[in-house]
Symmetry: C2
Subunit: 189 residues, 2 copies
């Protein structure tokens, strides 16, 4: 029988593409097998099960996102960095909605700790060094940024701001302005 050359790597990569095309929910072992023209059972030598496959796609997305973030943040500080980081999340979600959804998958504590998720937290903290925040306010601010970025991106992607004026780009800019102002002038408790 002709061998297609399946590897875990190729499966995960194809799974990520599939997610972007049809949605992360629809990524299934069967669909992936179909895409490679092999039988479903053949995938089970390369991924443990469906959950394992999805987890690996999530980890891939988290890494790609962290790589982009690191790139975008290099040499930037203050509002410039804030905008760059926000844009990384927003652009990634728009370019790769399936991967972005995958990145939202709940990982168990151990997997999460070994994932690129920690880099994300570190980079957000690094960004905040451009503002004048000390603990515990820095942590509060990390969480605020995470909330706004994730919340905005997922609402926009889900059509929550659908087709109504003013356009979403304008809102996004104004939200970044507002965030910058908030961080520069963090209110006392």
């Amino acid at each position: 029988m002709a061998r297609v050359g399946l590897t875990t790597e190729r499966l995960v990569r194809a799974g990520a593409e599939l997610a972007d095309e049809v949605g992360f929910e629809e990524v299934t072992v069967s669909a992936l097998a179909r895409r490679f023209g092999v039988k479903v059972a053949s995938l089970y030598s390369h991924v443990r099960n469906s959950h394992d496959l999805k987890t690996r796609i999530a980890l891939l997305a988290l890494e790609e996102l962290a790589d982009r973030a690191a790139d975008a943040l290099a040499g930037r500080a203050g509002k410039d960095a804030l905008t760059a980081l926000g844009d990384v999340y927003r652009d990634y979600a728009r370019e790769h909605p399936g991967r972005y959804a995958a990145a939202q998958l709940r990982l168990d504590a151990e997997t999460a700790a070994a994932s690129a998720g920690v880099r994300h937290a570190q980079m957000t903290r690094a960004l905040l060094r451009g503002y004048d925040l000390t603990e515990p306010d820095q942590t509060h601010a990390v969480r605020l940024l995470g909330s706004v970025f994730h919340g905005y991106v997922s609402l926009e992607l889900g059509g929550g701001f659908s087709h109504s004026a003013p356009d979403t780009q304008e809102t996004w800019s104004r939200i970044l302005d507002a965030l910058d102002a908030t961080l520069r002038n963090w209110p006392a408790p």
Copy 2:
């Protein structure tokens, strides 16, 4: 054969409970039939299909949430109202994680327009009357609030802020403070 007394209403309500117990993802026609002690096919007289069931659960959650919000906002203004609304979302998500997840389901435009989703937007706008914002800033602010509330709640629920100091209640308070300050002092473009 003994009749159990299935109705669409009862199915949706039980589906919502099931969602809170095992997660919205795991709400399945089969599981619901099991819960009622009837055969799977019997449910198809009351809900069109699996997607219909999930949609109805989502609509229920949106309504419950809107009712709570209306209650909480009555007689409040300014930061008081802001805190009350934020707490409604956060508390609801903590009490009913499955329903909250359901409320995030992507509805098609028509269904969304007929849902309690529009009440949510209206209430947020009403809240903003306590601040000095005019269009289009008001819309930007509606979107900001939606992003922060949804983003924070879903990250907290997903364990994104897991078990690290400072505790999430403190962060939540500080985020509400920051939002209030931002709205009182909305930055010019």
